[in-house]
């Protein structure tokens, strides 16, 4: 495995108590594979990625537990200097808002060159030439002119291409993209996602893509991890998670997106209520209060991850993990009528 995350937890210490933003999540990413992490705002998907990148290092009010291994080497215990060598070189990250992720006072070319000068000891001239090549790779128009421009002169889609050029400058093993297209138009979104896919294939790079949009997940994912209230509640190959959905939350998330044949003017299915307070996460399953299938046990105890005996998918050559879901509905003791009712809904 390229990246192995085990029992990762992140807590923020606040004056009112601690926010349990990420609660004991485990997942792994293989070479060349795409993992999509799916969830609503506040579910901990960005925080977990920032923890993996080491962006919280040495902040006194943040507690990180668990293990993150890249090529078998532990990342969480590294000192800042070592971390700096890995960040941008072996793992890099792009963010939702490209405008505020770039330095407004530096030329585009200098910002890309900086990565190469820092990690690969390029001379300035060399790095500048390479920056143009990288920009061309992202299929930006007139790359040789763009290097001399400042971020404010470019559109959102172009800036995201610049971010991508920077992040792939050192041919990282793994790229983390945190909602890279949420701020963009549908047509630009398609171009950026296509670009990520092409680059990924060319460089045999792994990709972790964070999104709240099931459509984007269907376009990009090999594996999907669905997060809710700081936990991964369902995890498996895309087809299996979509067609053999194992968690009521995932089903609801699917249903809240209008299908092409959804009648006009008819209300959409919504997930009533709101996610729980992470200062004081519930003892049992965090989705219980909003779940149509809640049983008494759900409030008392968090379910284990049940492995679902779904059919083998074509991706099984990847050695992909089996499909599992944290829900009591898969327990042998769960009443039959509830199981049947669950299976009936789409």
């Amino acid at each position: 495995m390229l990246l192995d995350v085990n029992h990762l937890s992140v807590e923020f210490q606040e004056s009112q108590g601690s926010i349990k933003a990420v609660r004991n999540i485990s997942f792994s990413v293989d070479k060349g594979e795409t993992l999509v992490i799916l969830g609503e705002s506040g579910c901990g998907k960005s925080v977990s990625m920032q923890a993996i990148m080491g962006l919280f290092h040495d902040q006194a009010n943040i507690n990180i537990k668990g293990s993150v291994k890249l090529h078998g080497h532990e990342l969480l215990t590294l000192n800042e200097q070592k971390r700096h060598q890995i960040r941008g070189k072996q793992i890099s990250m792009i963010f939702q808002d490209p405008m505020s992720s770039l330095n407004p006072t530096m030329k585009i070319g200098d910002q890309i060159a900086e990565v190469l000068i820092t990690h690969k000891a390029y001379a300035k001239q060399e790095a500048w030439q390479e920056a143009i090549l990288l920009l061309e790779k992202t299929r930006i128009s007139d790359a040789h002119l763009r290097v001399n421009q400042y971020p404010f002169e470019l559109s959102g889609g172009m800036l995201q291409r610049v971010m991508i050029a920077m992040s792939i400058a050192c041919k990282p093993d793994i790229l983390i993209a945190d909602e890279p297209t949420t701020a963009l138009d549908v047509s630009v979104q398609e171009q950026i996602l296509d670009l990520l896919k092409t680059l990924q294939a060319e460089e045999a790079m792994s990709l972790i893509l964070i999104t709240h949009d099931f459509g984007v997940a269907c376009q990009m994912a090999d594996q999907v991890a669905v997060m809710y209230a700081g936990k991964i509640i369902e995890y498996g190959a895309l087809d299996s998670v979509f067609y053999d959905t194992g968690h009521p939350y995932t089903k609801k998330l699917k249903a809240s997106i209008p299908r092409l044949d959804h009648p006009q003017g008819k209300p959409l299915t919504v997930i009533e209520g709101s996610p729980p307070d992470l200062f004081n996460p519930p003892k049992g399953c965090a989705f219980t209060a909003r779940c149509d299938f809640a049983m008494r046990i759900c409030n008392k105890k968090h379910p284990q991850a049940y492995t679902l005996n779904s059919e083998k998918t074509s991706d099984s050559t990847h050695g992909s993990p089996s499909h599992c879901a944290d829900c009591w509905i898969h327990d042998d003791d769960c009443p039959k009528p509830i199981k049947t009712a669950y299976r009936k809904i789409k």
């Binding site: 549908v186 099931f214 087809d239």
Partner: protein, 276 residues
């Protein structure tokens, strides 16, 4: 027959950019919206759809053409008293739920302000209206003394909706009200708007870049590209049988939330890109 609620005729909005050069944000747009109708206005960013919405409510000038509201001409440029008298008839819901609420005002103050500026109803009447609308949009009276930063994006958008509706206007411009929200929250806001629309027989201009959500709420869809309306028609027709290539592109660019259908879409896209 009743005149349309809003009628736009040959409207152009130009902004000067350099000496002698103009950015033609809106070019010769003609459209009308009937009472109780929802017009979905779709296009990429920079296509001029927000400028058109702003021109309707007087937030930007009109270079050429005119706009009528219920048969009466709207002024070419607005004075403060124009804004105040029109506020009771038309209102706007903004895209950014973070930037469009004053961070130093409580929710109660935010909701009271439109009433203070436009009519002289008593304090008790104001209070009644505030209580009525905060619950109408799915929040509670307990929320009234809080500040905007204490709310999530979806909740803030609900506050924006309450603020827009508190003067009981009949025409609402929704400028990308769901673009900044999570998919699941988008569904909640769309449902709320659908419900309010039929209960209050509102007329809406719904601006967005994502056709799949717009289709659900709109009776008619107008597609805008580079300041020009390239296609108009009943929502289902535009969506199922788009006649303009640009509309097709907008529809097909959307990923489908179903792995098998999505694979088919991608294959079709590769084909159509090659043929271009």
């Amino acid at each position: 027959m009743k005149p349309p609620v809003i009628e736009v005729n040959n409207l152009s909005v130009h902004y000067p950019i350099k000496q002698g050069e103009n950015l033609r944000a809106v070019q010769n747009v003609t459209l009308s919206i009937q009472e109780g109708e929802v017009l979905g206005l779709v296009g990429e960013s920079g296509s001029g759809k927000s400028t058109l919405g702003k021109a309707m409510i007087g937030l930007t000038h009109k270079t050429q053409g005119w706009i009528k509201y219920r048969g009466r001409f709207l002024p070419k440029s607005y004075t403060l008293s124009d804004f105040r008298s029109h506020a009771k008839h038309m209102q706007m819901i903004f895209q950014d739920p973070y930037g469009s609420l004053n961070p130093s005002m409580t929710i109660k103050e935010i909701l009271r302000e439109p009433m203070q500026l436009t009519d002289n109803r008593s304090r008790t009447k104001q209070q009644e209206a505030i209580h009525y609308w905060i619950e109408k949009v799915g929040l509670s009276i307990n929320h009234l003394n809080r500040y905007p930063h204490e709310f999530s994006g979806g909740q803030r958008q609900r506050i924006g909706i309450a603020r827009a509706l508190i003067l009981s206007p009949k025409f609402i411009i929704c400028d990308e009200p769901i673009s900044a929200l999570d998919v699941s929250v988008q569904a909640q806001i769309i449902n709320l708007l659908l419900e309010l629309k039929s209960e209050l027989s509102l007329t809406l201009l719904f601006i967005a870049h994502d056709l799949s959500m717009v289709r659900l709420i709109s009776d008619t869809i107008a597609v805008m590209k580079k300041g020009i309306i390239v296609e108009t028609g009943p929502s289902d027709t535009v969506f199922k049988k788009p006649s303009h290539d640009y509309t097709k592109m907008l529809i097909e660019a959307n990923p489908i939330a179903d792995p098998k259908d999505e694979k088919k879409r991608q294959k079709a896209r590769i084909k159509s890109n090659k043929s271009l």
